[in-house]
């Protein structure tokens, strides 16, 4: 049954949803009402001179389950930034589980926001944040449940603009059929710009319809509208050229970069769900961008340059966020948190400030070479001591030179020895399999490394009660990285190599029992690789696999490799290209890549040189501490590195817990 919409736009559909809640798992995820969530007046923006409404309404979607999507920082930031605007409103929506999808279809309940239970189709914009390409099928479910045509070309004046953001938008081509626009890069300033433009267009009475508003957005140079570009192909299947098909539309669309992070202290009031989520903590982003230059890392490449939040700015956000949320742990978030120029003063300052309040600190991402025990002790002073995690990524010194992860084996051993010596019992090590030029030997070196870790650990700890967990997954080459030209290792070869590694770890019984081995098989990586480096021809594959039942592809219990391969075979028939062409094929220097017209600021020639350096095992330094190596981002985007130290310190003052003053009994207070 098709979704049936009744009532006025912006009306709550909770009454229709409520009976379904009795029959689904974890119903709390659909009811909203989280602490610090907002439901604004549908017409908060008022009306234009001729009575046209000017409120701009965003439905923000994280295309995964609520428990994964709720803690997402990107969505939380945009939600708050937009809701602060007097003439805009934002509500959230997430992917519904298959049990709920079945009931919604049965009863004709459309995709709703969790905040006001308003129909997603009633909003002006459906903004979808893709951290991973594996959320594409969930977007189609949401569009379909919402009653929005799947194809952008079929949408009418009453349908919202479907706008994508997040890291996947650096190659939006595989979903070009389904999105109206993509916003590339940092979202907080960009959504305000788009909101203003859409608001003006609405207030003018929507002249020229959706095509006109999309054109206005495209003309800014910062919004990509796939329908305004044409792609031509060569007879061998490669792209010949991508060109604007519309006047006034730029050849390349640039990413957005927010400078002065201290001026964007979001989220100020983090959302606190009743339901359990994947991150049971509040997060404060301590810097954005990374120039360590790991060649596999798309995040590090596309978020340059490094922009630090100041120590005092971070201190204020932590204080305000803890007050507003009541979380007992604060994650100091970034791509490599120990690299903040004032990390030692920051962690010490925060640990002093929250002494005795049972508030834990964590650094979700720490480099071996930037880590030390003083830092680790500050992190666990007021909280709980969990395991330590490091990511050497490559098993051998040689492969670490290829990927430019400049961590020596001795560094790693020294660091873990210090950790075990200081009382830690559990160290987790992350690796990748299938890196360019990798052989079995490179991967088997991981087993040797893990054994050395255990042997050293037992020695310094003075007992055998320590563990090391090796976690490994297949490498997926990503756009806008030096490895964008690389051949991905096939699923079979990845699995064979992982199997050999497991055998090697198990072979040594004396230390093997102290080493845990966790791996992800190669199949999901191939689908991710297909979608990461794909082009517009993949739209048919995504639609086919969704029609065949694909949902929640990031979840192993829902993912089906066979379903994807079968859909790809049918949908790509006659194109001359197939899954292997997109994944395990190495690209040449002159090939037009599907994302070349999306400008991340990185100079393609520099990327190519870095790719050659990788093959040559030549390392490149970090421009925060050495001269610029001309990756191209700063001059292209008009940006600059923003780092401390500021030399400031945190005062050991907090109002956390001060609420008790009103509760303490007077006579007891006198006695004290």
């Amino acid at each position: 049954m098709a979704p049936t919409l009744v009532g006025m736009p912006g009306e709550s559909h909770f009454a229709a949803l409520e009976p379904l809640l009795e029959r689904v798992t974890k119903p709390i995820q659909y009811v909203g009402g989280e602490l610090n969530s907002t439901v604004k007046d549908w017409n908060c923006g008022g009306y234009g001179p001729k009575g046209d409404e000017r409120t701009v309404r965003w439905a923000l979607m994280y295309p995964d389950a609520y428990e994964v999507g709720l803690p997402n920082q990107g969505v939380m930031i945009l939600y708050e930034v937009l809701n602060e605007q007097p003439d805009a409103l934002a509500e959230r929506t997430y992917a519904v589980w298959p049990d709920m999808e079945v009931l919604m279809r049965e009863r004709g309940v459309p995709q709703l926001s969790v905040d006001g239970h308003r129909a997603v189709r009633d909003f002006d914009v459906l903004g979808i944040s893709f951290s991973t390409e594996l959320g594409y099928t969930n977007m189609l479910t949401a569009l379909d449940l919402a009653g929005i045509p799947l194809h952008a070309a079929d949408r009418g004046e009453d349908d919202p603009l479907v706008v994508m953001g997040g890291h996947a938008s650096f190659n939006p081509e595989p979903v070009a059929d389904f999105i109206d626009a993509a916003i590339v890069g940092d979202g907080e300033e960009a959504v305000l710009g788009a909101t203003e433009l859409i608001g003006e267009w609405k207030a003018e009475g929507r002249p020229g319809g959706r095509r006109e508003v999309l054109r206005r957005l495209a003309e800014t140079g910062g919004v990509y509208v796939p329908a305004f570009y044409e792609v031509d192909y060569l007879p061998d299947g490669r792209i010949q050229r991508v060109a604007p098909a519309e006047t006034g539309v730029p050849w390349r669309v640039g990413k957005h970069t927010v400078m002065e992070l201290d001026e964007w202290p979001y989220p100020k009031a983090p959302l606190v769900p009743l339901a359990e989520s994947v991150h049971e903590r509040m997060s404060v982003e301590i810097f954005r961008g990374c120039t360590r230059g790991c060649r596999f890392c798309q995040a590090g490449m596309i978020t340059r340059p490094v922009r630090e939040r100041s120590i005092t700015g971070i201190g204020e956000m932590v204080e305000q966020g803890l007050q507003a949320s009541g979380f007992e742990e604060v994650g100091l978030l970034s791509l490599s948190s120990a690299d903040h120029s004032e990390i030692a003063d920051l962690t010490k300052g925060l640990a002093d400030r929250y002494e005795g309040t049972n508030t834990g600190l964590s650094l979700p991402s720490t480099r071996v070479d930037a880590f030390n025990i003083d830092l680790a002790n500050e992190l666990t002073r007021n909280g709980r001591r969990s395991g330590l995690t490091f990511a050497p990524e490559g098993g051998s010194e040689r492969i670490r030179k290829v990927i430019n992860k400049m961590v020596s084996e001795d560094d790693l051993i020294r660091t873990v020895a210090a950790a075990y010596g200081a009382g830690w019992r559990q160290v987790k090590l992350y690796f990748m399999c299938g890196l360019p030029t990798e052989t079995d030997e490179d991967v088997l070196q991981i087993a040797e490394l893990a054994k050395r870790v255990i042997e050293t650990g037992r020695e310094v700890a003075g007992h055998n009660d320590i563990r090391c967990t090796v976690s490994i997954g297949g490498f997926v080459p990503k756009p806008h990285t030096p490895f964008q030209w690389a051949a991905q290792l096939s699923a079979e070869d990845t699995d064979a190599r992982l199997h050999k590694l497991r055998e090697a770890i198990r072979a040594d019984k004396k230390v093997g029992r102290s080493i845990g081995f966790r791996y992800h098989d190669g199949k999901p990586g191939i689908v991710e690789g297909l979608l990461s480096r794909g082009d517009r021809r993949l739209g048919r594959v995504i639609e086919q696999v969704w029609r065949d039942g694909a949902r929640f592809d990031g979840w192993s219990e829902h993912f089906s490799y066979e379903r994807w391969m079968s859909a790809a075979e049918r949908a790509l028939e006659g194109t001359g290209v197939d899954v292997a062409w997109y994944t395990t094929r190495e690209r040449g220097e002159s090939e037009v890549l599907p994302w070349d017209h999306i400008d991340s600021g990185l100079d393609k020639e520099w990327l190519w040189q870095d790719w050659l350096d990788a093959l040559d095992e030549t390392e490149v330094e970090d421009c925060r501490w050495t001269p610029c190596f001309d990756c191209g981002v700063c001059p292209q985007m008009g940006t600059d590195i923003e780092i401390g130290p500021t030399g400031k310190t945190l005062l050991p003052l907090t109002v956390l817990g001060s609420g008790k003053q009103t509760m303490v009994r007077e006579q007891a207070a006198r006695g004290a």
Partner: protein
């Protein structure tokens, strides 16, 4: 093997124990007891209640939960206990905690704990089930058939598999009334707490077994009261009394 003990002084001791009655209303009836526990811990931190913590590497605030209503059912009578490190004014704690919790989880009452375990004061519950599109006469017949039976075996899935138990004996009383709307009937049952607990959905299953009763929509269920069971007056006594 080296025995590890946390560095630093032991946590401050508990000096007062408070008992709290709260309601779970509206859409928040879909929160589970675990959802509530998370929300409560955060609300306690936000409001500044000086909680007593357990010692050790993983200190936890001292809270004990009692007999939470199943997910999806509303309640006017849920209880928990907290231990605090200072002498607090219960009414101030009530209002601060109520402010720090989402609307729909409403703190009704806070008292200093009387001696004995809270769980011992929770012997029976009064549940209200509101049925739509059922006339009270029809429901009355079904309930009479149920009450006439000595035992009604029902079964339900537990964590360790399906279990069968009697849903009739623990039911101490049942009454049917017409709702304001003629197409609405209200069933109130008083159930003694047993192991496994007989829940309103078990009573519903039992009704369907004795009289092939199948309401078109599941009823809206609310726990109205919970407390000691007084055999002589056949009433539930407030656990905060006496």
């Amino acid at each position: 093997m080296a025995k590890r003990t946390p560095e630093g002084p032991p946590p401050p001791p508990a000096v007062q124990k408070l008992r709290v009655r709260y309601a779970r209303r509206g859409r928040l009836r879909f929160s589970s007891t675990r959802d509530f526990a998370r929300a409560l811990e955060r609300a306690l931190r936000r409001s500044g209640v000086p909680m007593a913590y357990s010692a050790g590497f993983h200190p936890h605030p001292k809270i004990s939960y009692a007999n939470g209503a199943p997910t999806g059912m509303a309640s006017e009578a849920e209880f928990f206990e907290i231990s605090v490190t200072e002498q607090l004014d219960p009414e101030q704690v009530r209002s601060a905690l109520d402010d720090a919790l989402p609307d729909g989880i409403d703190i009704l009452d806070v008292v200093e704990a009387a001696p004995g375990a809270l769980a011992d004061r929770l012997e029976a519950s009064r549940w209200q089930m509101v049925f739509h599109d059922i006339e009270s006469g029809e429901l009355e017949q079904v309930v009479q058939a149920f009450l006439a039976a000595d035992t009604v075996e029902v079964s339900r899935m537990f964590k360790r598999g399906r279990k069968s138990f009697d849903a009739r004996q623990p039911v101490l009383g049942a009454r049917v009334e017409a709702g304001e709307d003629p197409r609405c009937a209200i069933l109130t049952v008083v159930v003694r707490h047993t192991t496994p607990a007989v829940r309103p959905d078990d009573v519903l299953t039992a009704l369907s077994l004795v009289a092939s009763f199948a309401p078109p929509r599941p009823p809206l269920v609310t726990r109205l009261a919970q407390g000691r069971w007084d055999e002589t007056t056949a009433e539930i006594i407030d656990p905060f009394d006496g």
